[in-house]
């Protein structure tokens, strides 16, 4: 490729000298080369892009060129490589175990296996995903307002919701590209290192898992866009977003445990039905946290032997042969989780959308 470009450049030099000696300038080769390398207006497209996509284009280029995205990308890429390295060095041990029903799922193991030194890919993503979502959205609207560009944008002949929709869509596009690129890189390096190829089922599971990531990060993105509409200062909205994230990932389960302790009556604990009842309440409470929803869904998708997310009695388990669930059944198990996460995202988006549409935007 480089070779071809060099040749073309040489040719261009030659065609430039040709111009100097008064050859007809309008020949097709020169024009083509001008199009390829020249800074003339001929390089600019004469096609009219719809204003919405002009906005999306600008947002994407802003995101991709911003320092915070580069930093987040670096963190995520490094952790991914770290977890891939640990998984690859230990994959042999993991596959040796005879009783493991997931022996066949080598590639899923790559994403989920950890020897304890470094967490696995799915754990990293559930931890860093929110940070990525918050990082991409926390100053979406308020920074435009503070820079005085929002009122200028609103004076253009576009519908007002274009702005907030473009912010959301562009960040979602960036996230999707990021996750699919990372996921497939992970897969590709795994293929080279192990020398096997993934089965179609594994591939579908991995693609579903990547979709799940996008939905999960999309939720945090919507939350942070909502905060950016709600708070005038980007710092406030970033801190609020991070607090929500820390609250759910650290304190929420503690609070649920406290509540469970408070409501459980010790006299009844002897009854297994009551224990199951308590366990169900606890799960129901836990599932209000988006990170719990996400980790349940991803582990079901990536560890096929997970057959239920609720409590199981010994009776139900007796006689069961440990074996992986078929893909359809795994999907059925996580369907409510996906729906709930999308619904939570939608709620956040509406919360951001309605006040933004109604707001009277003054300059700065």
């Amino acid at each position: 490729m480089i070779f071809i470009i060099t040749i073309l450049r040489e040719e261009r030099k030659m065609s430039n000298t040709a111009k100097d000696i008064q050859l007809p300038t309008g020949n097709p080769v020169t024009r083509l080369l001008d199009k390829l390398f020249g800074k003339s207006t001929a390089t600019l497209s004469t096609k009219v892009t719809r204003p919405f996509w002009v906005l999306v284009e600008k947002e994407i280029s802003d995101q991709v060129r911003s320092w915070r995205f580069i930093i987040l990308l670096a963190i995520i890429a490094l952790t991914t490589m770290g977890s891939l390295y640990t998984a690859l060095t230990n994959i042999g041990d993991a596959l040796k175990s005879v009783t493991d029903p997931e022996k066949a799922y080598v590639f899923l193991k790559l994403f989920t296996y950890s020897d304890g030194t470094l967490p696995s890919f799915i754990v990293f993503v559930s931890f860093l995903g929110p940070l990525l979502g918050i990082g991409l959205g926390f100053d979406a609207v308020n920074s435009e307002q503070n820079n005085g560009t929002l009122s200028r944008l609103l004076a253009q002949p576009i519908h007002r919701d274009y702005i907030i929709n473009a912010k959301f869509i562009s960040s979602l596009i960036v996230i999707s590209f990021l996750f699919f690129a990372l996921g497939f890189l992970f897969l590709g390096i795994g293929m080279i290192a192990i020398g096997l190829i993934p089965t179609p089922e594994e591939f579908v599971r991995i693609v579903m898992f990547l979709f799940m990531n996008i939905i999960y990060v999309g939720f945090w993105l919507n939350l942070s866009i909502f905060l950016s509409v709600r708070f005038k200062q980007p710092a406030t909205s970033a801190l609020t977003g991070i607090s929500v994230w820390i609250f759910f990932s650290i304190f929420y389960s503690m609070i649920v445990n406290l509540i469970m302790k408070a409501i459980a009556s010790p006299a009844l604990l002897i009854n297994p039905a009551y224990q199951i009842y308590l366990e169900r309440i606890k799960l129901a409470l836990m599932r209000f946290a988006p990170n719990i929803l996400f980790s349940e869904a991803t582990s079901t998708l990536m560890i096929p032997s997970v057959r239920s997310l609720g409590p199981l009695t010994m009776e139900q388990l007796s006689g069961a042969i440990p074996g992986p669930l078929p893909l359809g059944q795994s999907l059925l198990l996580v369907w409510p989780h996906i729906t709930a996460l999308i619904a939570a995202s939608a709620v956040c988006f509406v919360l951001a959308y309605v006040p933004f549409m109604r707001r009277e935007v003054r300059s700065r």
Binding site: L44, G148, R152, Q156
Partner: protein, 318 residues
Amino acid sequence: MDEIIKLTGLTKKYGEFTAVDHLDLSINKGEVFGLLGPNGAGKSTTILMLLGLTEPTEGSVSVCGIDPISRPVDVKKRVGYLPEDVGFYDRYTGLENLMFTAQLNDMSKAEAYDKATKLLERVGLAEQADKKTGVYSRGMRQRLGLADVLIKDPEVIILDEPILGIDPYGVREFLDLIIKLSKEEGLTVLFSSHHLYQVQQVCDRVGLFVSGKLLAEGNINSLSQQLFGNNAYTVELGISGTTSNNKGTPEDIIKNIDGVISVNSEKGKYLIECSRDVTPEISKEIINSGLNITSLNKKEYGLDDIYYHYFEGGTKNE
């Protein structure tokens, strides 16, 4: 008359507070109209309603024959709006900022580039076109803002406090630029300001705005006529020497001139209030009476006087 902007009974209330109170105003095509008033008089709110950026509580707006409340996008296609203290994307150059706006107005990249470079030249920013707007000075930003407004080929441009925070020289340059461009393109210009003097220089007509009400409108002369009635002119006269041929004191001489209402002497100068411009007669009479004129100065009432007059009126009414 070709009315391009028409407001009838326009009212905007924020809770109990009435920002704009039953405003009736029409602006003709090709006119330069100055919306004048102190801070918080409701100028910006009126402008926002013109663009459909906020909904009026009562009344109706029509811009280019379109209702901006039901069809804001169509209005925004025809109206360029420069907000107060406009901001640009600091990461981008002036040229890129303009091209972005142009593309939002349904232009292709190539078209946007051509148009933006031409406009940058016209507003005098051709050399700064490739600098990031983050390093632009205030005056440069305003000029870029003007280019940004003009890039969509508007019929009307609305500028909210366009000269706030620019140095006097810059203000003059900027206003001249607005007027030149608007005359060339046949644009209707509406701008708000509380800088009286500069507005006076460039506006065809002004509207005086105090606490949500339009108190008076018209050109400067008709406003001063409305306000100051017969005492529309004041002449300041300085003389030396003594009167010959027993014509009496200078006061008597001046008082005899037709149109003079009163004469006051103050620190050796005479302040003459008159109903018409009598400066030539005064000078003739004074010279004839053998006195020497050291200074003769016609004071016209400017917007400042009009403004303060209304403020006095406004506070008295309360």
